[in-house]
Symmetry: C2
Subunit: 520 residues, 2 copies
């Protein structure tokens, strides 16, 4: 074992924290991810800053909350002056590259105002979220013809559009191609061969990158787009799991009686209506499990290569997901809102340094957040953490001990639901569809602009089936949580252009500049 | 009269709202500013977003609160992706220029990261806050040798440093030069001739600009650095007012009994200690009044030129100050904290359009904020107000009627006191020295991170002498104000890269992109 030299930052898309065997799933087996947990530290109370791909990932990459970095939903460009992982790690001598998805959208307008040409080589990193695009692939929609994966597919499936026809095309029993987006087809196999599927291909590319780097230091973001929609798995993963492996939905009829207006708007959307049906869950969840198992199998290949190449000795490995998935719990599907299946994420960190031997295989229950990763990485490289910008805290003390005696007592997550039908259902404007959640060990409080709050007692009601947001008996708790949320929001790091040391030296500089105020 | 074609945006530095005769001052006469009020609308409840030059001005220029734009104190660079007045108005065909001060500091680090050369002509506007520097002059400290005003001074006062020797140099009775920074010298005349003083020079430059523009449209920010420190006036203004013209300090011994810890830290600073003394007030305030009267006289020259040139018919005139000055009230001097003398600012708007004839000479009592000016200007030019960025509201309805039936019921102001000795007195870190004020018509509530709040009942105690922040009887009011402050803070416009129309069209675009979530 050696000090941290490389960083393998693995992310899944929409993987629930409890859909791993080490996360407690009773029927899904994920031996390779379990092996990571055994080798490192599993954070069982890890949370995303927003249960939507784009804002959550921008928080993972910037170390800042969603409202702070401003990319509050998918497709909202990250302002050009936000720093990402690449900005933080490249100066340390690492090659910082991407294999897979970021959901980053460049701030073309901001670049144009600054006179920056968004097509020039000089602005490449501003277009790619700071990652060298070793193999960028956003998935979800048909990739452009010149995307590497698309070019690869065309060599394997000549003629036509292989992505639509094979990757998200399902093989119907009559031999025709069925639409993999439609959930009634989730039980069918994808027409793509497993070895050509998104997960297999991106794993190949990750291994190619690591091989290419040899002993030169690197950070690779291996970012799978699965098990996110479209929920369609290649053989043999499409029917590896059946309805017998599906856990019952966590929901109660009581939740639909006098529901919170925003919650009601979400369960009224089409996806919520679909997942209220048991047959939908039984069609989709086995495919979701198969896709997760497939990722686990391919991670086994990556780990084997790290062993073979010796890189296991100097590579920090992080495994996470951008958010979870309701999968029918609470009459919801997708994510967005603040119940645990949505905002809690798997998080495992393996630190190769011998100093971390004392914590291998441990499980931490502290409340950690996606924004903690950037400071953790900087700390792993013994680099200064710019606290005027970064809103998270380094997790290194949990890896090398001793664990901190004082830690945050609440996590913050937020939602900009202006982009949903739910905004129309609730009659909000473009800037009013906002929700902020503060969750302590015991309480989960959700503030909705213009609506009453939600409140859940996680001690008495760990399944979050009873909303105490409007019950007379909990006014005091709500007020306390409201006050704490305000305190939290005032803690935003918006003074990004001046570091703390400079701030603390302000008075001396002013005096040195000749300014004398109020002296007789 | 014609429609708005030009914009003359006049700003004073540290001018209290009530140090104008139209603002109610009993002994100070400001006939030309009064004439503006008679010709336009006086907003008697106008507030700055932070009672410190830099953050306040950045709010005037960006239309955004201090914590939002991030330049929370003097010298903190405005992030390079913030848009200022120039960005908003230049596309409308105006020449947007500056005569005087902005307190803008360019984001050199941000520029460097983006590969922008901070010395190139292409980045000029990024270095000047978006204003063409017709005659930039920051004052307060000795200007660089190549500053236009310094060059002018050198022609008038050859040899040595004319700024230190004449502009802030006072003429002692024995003929020697006394230091104009020291308040014991405030009653002495500056050694500079009145016609060469900062206020006179900058007025000349403003008239030169307006003359040069002839009938081409423009926005000129005429930004005086007076009556800000150093408090030293040229003849005849240095002794135009005497101690007999000084209003008694608004303060009470009760304020110093068990004071709020942050308030105590400020009154314990040297400037507060000085202004607790009556002799200090009586030395400084007459000079402050003289400097104000001087500005008024020179504004008379500007107005005369607008009449002569005909520009009065198509020029909107705005008169404001960046913040006030305690001048010994509440045992304080300077500004920073949230009492009315500090956060309330003079604001007059003259709209040349005949549609505004119905409101001329009226006084409005609505709560308006510095961030309202950018939307007002855009509205005056019938240009779209980008509501995803701008946090204020257009004041045009108050100018042309009918006045809005619904208006904001509270103003927000904030302070980042990390830069003061008061931070050390209160043992705060660089990111913890934060205060936020919410003021309604009746209540003023100040939230201090890590401390109890302050609360003033403006109906019962308009002089703000009784802090109700910790009295048992006002818990309900404090909680209500606390809740409203949270609501206000969640209203920040941090999603700056996507306009509202685009947000509202998000669902259609997603569907068009082929993404189908949750359909059977």
């Amino acid at each position: 074992m050696a000090a941290v030299r490389n960083l393998l930052f693995i992310m899944c898309d929409q993987l629930r924290h409890d859909y791993l065997s080490c996360g407690g799933h009773p029927t899904l087996k994920t031996p390779h991810i379990d092996a990571l947990a055994a080798r490192g530290v599993l954070f069982r109370n890890a949370f995303c800053t927003s249960a939507v791909c784009g804002p959550s990932r921008m928080s993972f990459y910037t170390g800042r909350y969603a409202r702070t970095h401003g990319s509050t939903w998918n497709g909202v460009p990250l302002p050009v002056d936000e720093l990402t992982l690449g900005d933080h790690l490249r100066p340390l001598g690492l090659r910082v590259a991407l294999a897979g998805k970021t959901h980053f959208v460049p701030d073309i307008q901001g670049m144009a105002r600054l006179g920056l040409d968004p097509r020039s080589p000089e602005t490449l990193l501003l277009r790619t979220g700071g990652f060298e695009p070793f193999d960028a692939y956003e998935g979800h929609v048909r990739p452009p013809d010149d995307a590497p994966y698309m070019r690869y597919l065309k060599t394997r499936y000549p003629g036509g559009d292989p992505w639509t026809g094979f990757v998200v095309g399902a093989e119907a029993p009559d031999g025709t191609t069925a639409d993999g987006w439609l959930i009634r087809n989730a039980h069918l196999p994808a027409r793509v061969a497993e070895a050509d599927s998104e997960t297999a291909y991106m794993t190949d590319r990750a291994i190619a990158f690591i091989r290419e780097q040899a002993d030169k230091p690197w950070c690779l973001h291996l970012s799978y787009i699965k098990p996110h929609w479209p929920c369609i798995a290649p053989r043999p993963y499409h029917d590896m799991y059946t309805r017998d492996h599906v856990m019952p939905a966590v929901k109660s009829e009581r939740e639909r009686l006098d529901p919170h207006p925003v919650y009601k708007a979400f369960i009224d959307m089409e996806v919520g209506q679909s997942f209220a049906r048991e047959d939908v869950r039984e069609a989709v969840i086995p495919a979701y499990m198969g896709l997760t198992r497939q990722i686990d199998d391919h991670l086994g290949r990556v780990l084997a290569w790290l062993e073979t190449s010796g890189r296991i000795k100097d590579t920090m490995i992080v495994f996470a997901s951008d958010h979870g998935d309701y999968l029918g719990d609470h009459w919801m599907c997708e994510k967005e809102l603040f119940h645990e299946p949505s905002i809690r994420v798997p998080l495992i960190i393996v630190d190769p340094d011998p100093a971390a031997d004392v914590t291998r295989g441990t499980v931490r229950s502290e409340l950690v957040e996606a924004i903690d990763l950037v400071p953790t990485f900087l700390d792993a490289y013994a680099s200064k953490v710019p606290r005027h910008r970064l809103e998270g805290r380094s997790l290194m003390p949990f890896l090398r001990g001793p664990a901190p005696t004082a830690w945050r007592d609440a996590v913050l997550s937020e939602l900009d639901y202006a982009f949903y039908e739910a905004r129309e259902f609730t009659n909000r404007g473009a800037n009013d569809a906002r929700a902020f959640m503060l969750r302590t060990e015991r309480w989960k409080y959700v503030f909705y602009k213009g609506f009453p709050p939600q409140l859940f007692d996680l001690a008495e009601d760990p399944s979050e089936l009873v909303d105490l947001g409007r019950t007379p008996g909990h006014e005091k708790v709500r007020q306390e949580m409201h006050g704490r949320l305000l305190e939290r929001l005032t803690d935003r790091r918006n003074r990004i252009t001046m570091d703390d040391e400079w701030v603390l030296g302000a008075r001396d500089r002013e005096m040195a500049g000749g300014i004398v105020i109020g002296r007789w």
